[in-house]
């Protein structure tokens, strides 16, 4: 860049010097003339100076014409550039496409990163919003789950929050709107909830302190989410005054939140809530707060830690926990950072390769134009002028590429959003805003510098004499130029290998994930979520009977090989909180240090339906009723952890210090519920018939078409109880959902890697094709002197493969160095997995070989006589 600036500066100095001489000549002549008329010299000089309007002013006025001329020259350059690009439309189209694709992909991915990670949450003063969480001091882990009494203490003792609120809930509930049974996701919130976010209602009103029920009373009003209200009632205003019975509790909708307000993510309704429980060991709330304007995060954090420490001393249940603040944005999207920045780097690498490719093509073109440039230099175009001309061309190319990229990006964004996991936070906020446009401009400008500067500087260093002397159509640029082009190819190959290796690791890891033995079958299992709302003990008895009947009738349907119910569905949904368990005859241990397990209530045949092996003991039976001995089944992980080296059968276990002991009657195989990449958690199963009773999700294994079975099941259910809502999914869909994130990142990075490899191959091809063109004469002489076609092919292929080999080695070194960054995203694959690296190198090697063969074959078919005659 300095070279160019210097060229401009020197030109300006020369012009200044000339102007001074010109004006001095004028003044001197005028002074002489006036002195001849009888004036003395100082007076003559004064008058002459005055006459032309003052030296300094004239100098300034003249200089002004130069700066306009500079603009004129740019306009001229632009015209030349556009004319040249239009004339070589094939070249322009090729380069433009590569550029537009790579810039477009960058813009698209950046707009996702921008919306998800960079933009502040769309609440007023969103930086002051924090998630107030439990910090477990023994593990150092923060958890969003907080206990009600802790929250009340935090609220009462702090003076750093403007407002702080708690939220409860998370599950979908059965609800009735009119006589229509639906699922709804209600959240129970304290009065300040909307105040924390600074939200206003889009219809009706939000919640106030007066809405909060007193004592154990149930709420009577609710505020609806805008999307839910419009889906349910047509428009927001229509929802006001409507009644909805959530799990039998009638609520009147008094307001609708602003469009787009959804916190926590899945919420449909918010109802007022008062914390009445006193158990500090029960963490069933979440808390959010708005920090006061004049308080910074670290001060708020310090005060909350002090409060947490006080509570730890006062309450034994709090011995191992305190409180911590996590910025809300980090809480919502923090876990996506690694994935999104990884994808951003990948697409950045693709763009770098594209730029290297284009720089290469421009160098080749500049070489083809050596004579033209030399001629223009000889005719007096300054070096700066020539460089500027080439740079203008690059700028026009980058500008056009950037604009086209922007258009393509809006397409790509749609593709990315479609590929992305449905629950990717803030994905609906992706749009082309000012930040994205600025990014697009930046990328285009940097592209210009990356691929435009090298050929421009090169051309300005051109040796005039050599270029003209060489004559002929095949004037070459310096050997420095071909060295540079080789260097660019090496860089392209190296970058591609790195990207291919990274993609390879992710693909293999994803394959491993898909092959994971889940411990149960997802094949041909239909899942029906249902919920049966109960208000009293009579309802609970009815519910058990309804589900038992339903399952019996379902098992009788031809084509259904097994059917069962489960209180919580294993996969994909929000993880079930693990809970402490106790074993009869052993010390209870301290709160916070007790072993934990998941608890699932199921019916008989659950294991049969999902093909989970019973390793010891028995399955639940219809005889396991409330009057009989309470029983439980545990999985192998729990058996190993709790009863190492002994049989768990006949031992007693419970998850609550006040409930009766349950006899362990069976041990079953492990299953991976939530995330296939995690080891199976310890699980306790209890029969839903002995449990307090639960609504069940129905699982049915069938040889029938799953949708037709869904119809049958819906009819059976409606017969049994018309107030039970039902929603269907297949086990495969649930499994897909669990793999959504790994699939997304694997697909996207795989796509980028493929493009990178293609670009690298094109790069090798273009350099070799150019070299063959350059060496036509030399090759012809070789042929004439007896070299065989095979010799020539070997020569060219050898040259191509040497470049490739250097690139491969460098890329391999880079890939190994960077692999550690991927470690957290890999499953059962080492970041240094040899097979992956071999594969990446082999793939690119083959591509490179193909790219070198074409020019080599062309070289071999050069007919010596014709080639020599042409010269």
């Amino acid at each position: 860049m300095n070279r160019l600036l210097n060229l401009f500066r020197r030109r300006r100095d020369r012009l200044d010097h000339d102007l001074d001489r010109e004006l001095r000549y004028h003044l001197d002549r005028r002074v002489e003339e006036m002195m001849a008329d009888g004036l003395d010299e100082p007076e003559a000089r004064r008058r002459a100076n005055l006459e032309i309007g003052g030296m300094t002013q004239v100098r300034e006025a003249v200089r002004e014409t130069w700066s306009w001329a500079w603009l004129d020259a740019i306009a001229l350059d632009l015209r030349y550039a556009i004319r040249g690009l239009v004339r070589n439309w094939g070249f322009t189209l090729g380069v433009g496409t590569v550029l537009a694709l790579s810039i477009g992909a960058n813009i698209a991915l950046f707009s996702v990163v921008n919306a998800v990670l960079l933009q502040p949450l769309s609440y007023p003063d969103a930086d002051r919003l924090v998630s107030v969480e439990t910090l477990w001091t023994n593990t150092g882990r923060a958890s969003q789950d907080v206990s009600g009494p802790d929250f009340l203490d935090w609220q009462a003792r702090n003076d750093v929050f403007e407002k702080i609120a708690c939220v409860q809930g998370g599950d979908d509930f059965a609800a009735m709107v009119g006589d229509h049974a639906i699922f709804v996701n209600p959240r129970y919130v304290s009065a300040d909830f909307f105040g924390v976010f600074g939200e206003t209602a889009s219809a009706g009103r939000l919640l106030t302190e007066r809405d909060v029920p007193s004592g154990d009373a149930e709420p009577t009003v609710a505020v609806a989410a805008h999307h839910w209200a419009t889906a349910q009632f047509g428009k927001a205003e229509a929802a006001i005054g409507k009644r909805i019975a959530v799990y039998g509790n009638p609520l009147e909708i008094v307001g609708v939140a602003a469009p787009g307000f959804r916190y926590p993510g899945a919420a449909d309704l918010w109802a007022p809530w008062r914390i009445t429980e006193s158990d500090r060991g029960n963490h069933n709330y979440q808390a959010v707060g708005r920090i006061k304007r004049d308080v910074d995060l670290s001060r708020a954090q310090a005060q909350m830690r002090t409060i947490g420490a006080t509570l730890s001393r006062r309450h034994p249940e709090n011995r191992l926990k305190t409180v911590t603040l996590v910025p809300l944005r980090e809480r919502l999207t923090g876990n996506l950072q690694v994935m999104l920045w990884m994808l951003m780097s990948a697409v950045g690498v693709v763009w770098l390769i594209a730029c290297a490719n284009i720089a290469n093509l421009l160098l080749a073109r500049a070489a083809g134009r050596t004579r033209e440039i030399a001629l223009r230099s000889a005719l007096g175009a300054g070096r700066g002028r020539v460089a500027r001309q080439l740079l203008t061309e690059s700028t026009v190319l980058a500008g056009v590429g950037g604009l086209a990229g922007l258009l393509l990006a809006s397409l790509f964004v749609r593709g990315l959003v479609a590929l992305s996991p449905a629950n990717l936070p803030r994905i609906d906020e992706v749009r082309m805003d000012a930040t994205v446009l600025l990014f697009a401009l930046g990328v285009s400008l940097v592209s210009t510098v990356l691929f435009g500067l090298v050929p421009a500087l090169h051309a300005s260093r051109l040796d005039l004499f050599d270029a003209l002397k060489q004559g002929g159509a095949k004037a070459t640029m310096s050997s420095a130029s071909s060295r540079l082009r080789s260097l660019l190819v090496v860089a392209e190959v190296a970058l591609s290998v790195m990207l291919l290796a990274a993609a390879g690791l992710l693909v293999r890891s994803f394959q491993a994930l898909q092959r994971v033995d889940l411990g149960f079958t997802t094949d041909r299992v239909l899942v029906a979520y249902t919920e049966y709302a109960v208000r009293d003990l009579a309802d609970i008895r009815t519910r058990s009977r309804v589900y038992a009947d339903l399952l019996d009738r379902l098992r009788a349907v031809p084509g259904v090989s097994a059917a069962a119910g489960v209180a919580y569905l294993p996969m994909g949904r929000e993880p079930r909180a693990a809970r402490d368990y106790f074993i009869q005859g052993r010390p209870e241990g301290e709160a916070g240090e007790r072993p934990q397990a998941e608890l699932h209530a199921i019916t008989r045949d659950y294991f049969k339906t999902l093909a989970i092996p019973v390793r010891a003991g028995r399955d639940f039976e219809s005889g396991d009723t409330p009057g009989r001995t309470p029983v439980a089944i545990i999985n192998q992980t729990l058996a190993r952890a709790a009863f190492p080296g002994e049989s768990p059968l006949g031992r007693h276990i419970r998850t609550n210090r006040r409930s009766p002991w349950m006899e362990i009657v069976g041990v079953v195989g492990d299953t991976r519920w939530q995330d296939p990449s995690q080891p199976p958690p310890p699980v306790i199963f209890v029969p839903s018939t002995q449990d307090w009773g639960n609504s069940l999700s129905i699982l049915a294994r069938t040889t029938l078409d799953q949708t037709s079975l869904a119809g049958t099941l819906r009819a059976l259910l409606h017969d049994a109880s018309p107030t039970v809502p039902v929603r269907f999914e297949t086990m495969e869909e649930l499994f897909d959902f669990a793999l959504a994130y790994p699939r997304f990142r694997t697909q996207v990075i795989g796509l980028f890697a493929a493009v990178a490899a293609l670009l690298a191959a094109i790069g090798i091809f273009s350099v070799l094709a150019y070299l063959v063109g350059q060496r036509t004469r030399e090759l012809a002489v070789r042929r004439a002197l007896g070299a065989s076609a095979a010799d020539v092919i070997r020569l060219i292929v050898g040259q191509g493969l040497r470049l490739t080999a250097v690139g491969l080695v460098l890329g391999l070194a880079g890939a190994v160095a960077l692999a550690r960054l991927l470690e957290g995203l890999l499953y059962q694959i080492s970041p240094w997995d040899v097979a992956t690296y071999v594969g990446a190198v082999a793939l690119l090697g083959v591509a490179a070989l193909l790219a070198t063969l074409l020019p080599a074959i062309r070289a071999a078919t050069i007919a010596p006589r014709i080639a020599l005659q042409q010269e």
Binding site: D18, Y25, H26, D28, G53, A61, V62, W66, D72
Partner: protein, 110 residues
């Protein structure tokens, strides 16, 4: 000496310079002398705008310049009309005549 003169209309200076140079190449001082003559006779030319005008015309490609020995033996920057400069002068003259005729026509009819 001062006779009733009016200031030169905007943009006319360029035309005058082109006209002067259409006779023969000249350096800035000679052009200024010629302009002073014109000034005495008809219109008032601001000498301060001469050099900016010369450089502007050169940038537009209507003039070329070169350093050459002048009548005093000292080197001076001589300006000459280019092909496009000649064309431009013809265009401006034609425009000027059209305007003058039009104005006369209006005054004649009034």
């Amino acid at each position: 000496m001062p006779s009733p003169r009016f200031p030169i209309p905007q943009g006319t200076l360029d035309m005058l310079v082109l006209q002067i140079l259409s006779l023969e190449p000249a350096h800035g001082y000679a052009i200024a002398q010629r302009l002073r003559q014109v000034s005495r006779d008809a219109v008032q030319v601001n000498q301060g705008s001469l050099y900016p005008a010369l450089h502007r015309l050169e940038q537009k490609g209507w003039l070329t310049s070169e350093w050459r020995e002048s009548e005093t033996g000292r080197e001076a920057k001589f300006y000459a009309l280019t092909k496009t400069g000649q064309k431009q002068l013809a265009v401006e003259k034609a425009d000027w005549n059209r305007l003058a005729t039009a104005v006369q026509l209006i005054f004649g009819e009034a």
